[in-house]
Amino acid sequence: MSVIQDIELKSKKGKRLYIGIYILLAVMVIVQFFPMLWMFLGTFKTDPELTSTIPTMLPESWKFSNYVEAFEKYDIWKNLWNTVYIIVMSILIQVTNSIFSAYALSVMKPKFGNIVQMVFLATMMFSGTALMFPLYIQMTQMGLIGSKWALILSSSVWAYSITWFKSFFDNIPRDLFEAAKIDGASDLQILGRIVLPLSKPIISVMCVNSFMAIYNDTVYPLMLLPEQKDWTIMIRLFVLNTTGTPRPSHMYVLLVVATIPSLIIYMMAQKNLVEGVSTSGIKG
């Protein structure tokens, strides 16, 4: 609910406050967009312009060939394909595991459920970076170095995601399940026909969260995938910036390319995000 009451908006004072906040938000949003806009315009500038002591906002001459050059030089299509493959597989497996686990814990409530849940939840305290080196050694032993599956398996389960789904399922009225049970529906049918259609918002939230966690990962994927042909776009960015001396114009193109997948994901999920967060009850 809003701090300013609807009734106050009719008074002069209330109106002034509302417009004040509106202007403040509008001004702040321009500041927020500036880096993104700068990044995008940078992809059309020449290297001398990008490294000039007097920066320019708009390119002096629009150099569209930066995109062609960067895509050729760094095999970006291959990087993007690897990224999509790893992300889609990881999210599919992770979300499926979470839904089945959460359904079992929330709806079926087996006797051993509490213990299993505790075992799952405890892993939230294992920081990913602390797991990194032991996992690397484990993957070496399993002979998975150089395989995308090393990465996909590492993110196949996420306690966080299970908690979110479980608290969402907990809020579905129990009558629905009981009615379906009496009609002779099996658990798989209930999951597929009742639970999943209701869960769209939470699935959106979880896909975004998983995406962020997996997409932004670089150091660990680089350890697992030492060869260039397997790199994701983020590994490419990381390596170029920590070891190479890339041309700024190419770098700007790579930055924009790396932003596009997250832009797409967020735009797709955007509508469901707020609802998903509100209905899951996770917000504390």
Partner: protein
């Protein structure tokens, strides 16, 4: 009639209990196996091999007792690294933690279409991935041609070395988060704001409370839980900072931003000293576990 039906239901549920248990186990089994293989096994094996001089070809190598731990606790670079983690955390809380809260409160004031529009507009700039943001701002902070020095000089200031200056480096690394602050955190706070009861706002309006007073005494207490949750979340990441630092500075200038995991990373990658890297990451794991546990205990009590 009612009685018969409920009796029938219980009977059916009873006979189904065993089947139900088995099916539930089947649903949980993939997760149980994967958690065991890719969470519990590595974390325990990490603790296990931290007592060894690791030989990557012939694991685990030779048992060496507490040697790695004794080395860590006698290592000044280790203590400096802890200090750098704390410093980074302090800067990030002061510079970036509060904006999404205020933003959510302000966006929540907007009505109908303006609200949806602002929510979306603030969300878009935050979708630029963290790594892309870091690289972009490194160009801004470039001492030779960066935008930062240009702007500073426009206002009559002296050009700075920014990321190469130990006095500025922590500020610079957190600066992007200070100016671009929309995104998921805002969405969480916005969702929580929907649950603050309107009666309280109405009552405080009738008592003549100002906007700021209402935020102070109604809104903030109403979203206290989510604020604490978010704080604990960032606290659990306090010793996990690594990738970002590697990109920003590689631990520089002169080791001034070398966090524990950056130190561990360098030991593993540059010196091939996996024993020490794993020992350091195991220490991080145990410390994080203690912090999280303590805070969860404390918030549950309250």
């Amino acid at each position: 009639m009612k009685k018969i039906q409920s009796g029938h239901r219980t009977e059916k549920l009873m006979s189904n209990t065993k089947r139900n248990e088995r099916l539930a186990l089947l649903f949980l089994l993939p997760s149980i196996i994967l958690f065991a293989m890719f969470k519990y096994y590595p974390i325990l094996s990490g603790v296990f091999v931290s007592f060894f001089d690791i030989d990557i070809v012939n694991l685990p190598g030779d048992f060496c007792g507490f040697k790695n731990y004794i080395r860590a606790f006698g290592d000044t670079r280790f203590y400096e690294a802890i200090w750098h983690n704390v410093k980074f955390f302090a800067y990030s809380i002061v510079m970036t933690f509060w904006q999404p809260i205020i933003l959510a409160i302000l966006v929540n004031e907007m009505r109908r279409k303006s609200k949806t529009a602002f929510r979306l507009l603030y969300f878009i700039p935050a979708v630029v991935p963290a790594i892309a943001t870091t690289i972009l701002w490194k160009y801004f902070f470039n001492p030779d041609y960066g935008l930062a020095n240009y702007v500073v000089q426009l206002f009559g200031g002296q050009p700075q070395l920014w990321l190469n200056d130990e006095n500025w480096v922590y500020f610079c690394m957190n600066f992007p988060g200070m100016v671009v602050f929309g995104g998921m955190a805002m969405v969480y706070y916005l969702a929580a704001l929907q649950d603050v009861p309107n009666d309280l706002y109405e009552a405080s309006m009738l008592e003549g409370a100002s906007f700021v007073q209402r935020v102070r005494y109604v809104t903030l207490p109403g979203i206290k839980n989510i604020v604490i949750t978010q704080f604990i979340l960032s606290l659990t990441g306090i010793f996990g900072t690594m990738e970002n630092i590697l990109l920003w500075t590689g631990g520089g200038p002169a080791g001034e931003t070398e966090t524990i995991l950056v130190y561990a990373y360098k030991q593993a990658i540059n010196s091939m000293d996996y024993s020490y890297a794993i020992t350091l990451s195991t220490i991080v794991f145990i410390v994080t576990l203690i912090i999280t546990y303590a805070f969860q205990k404390k918030t549950q009590e309250e």
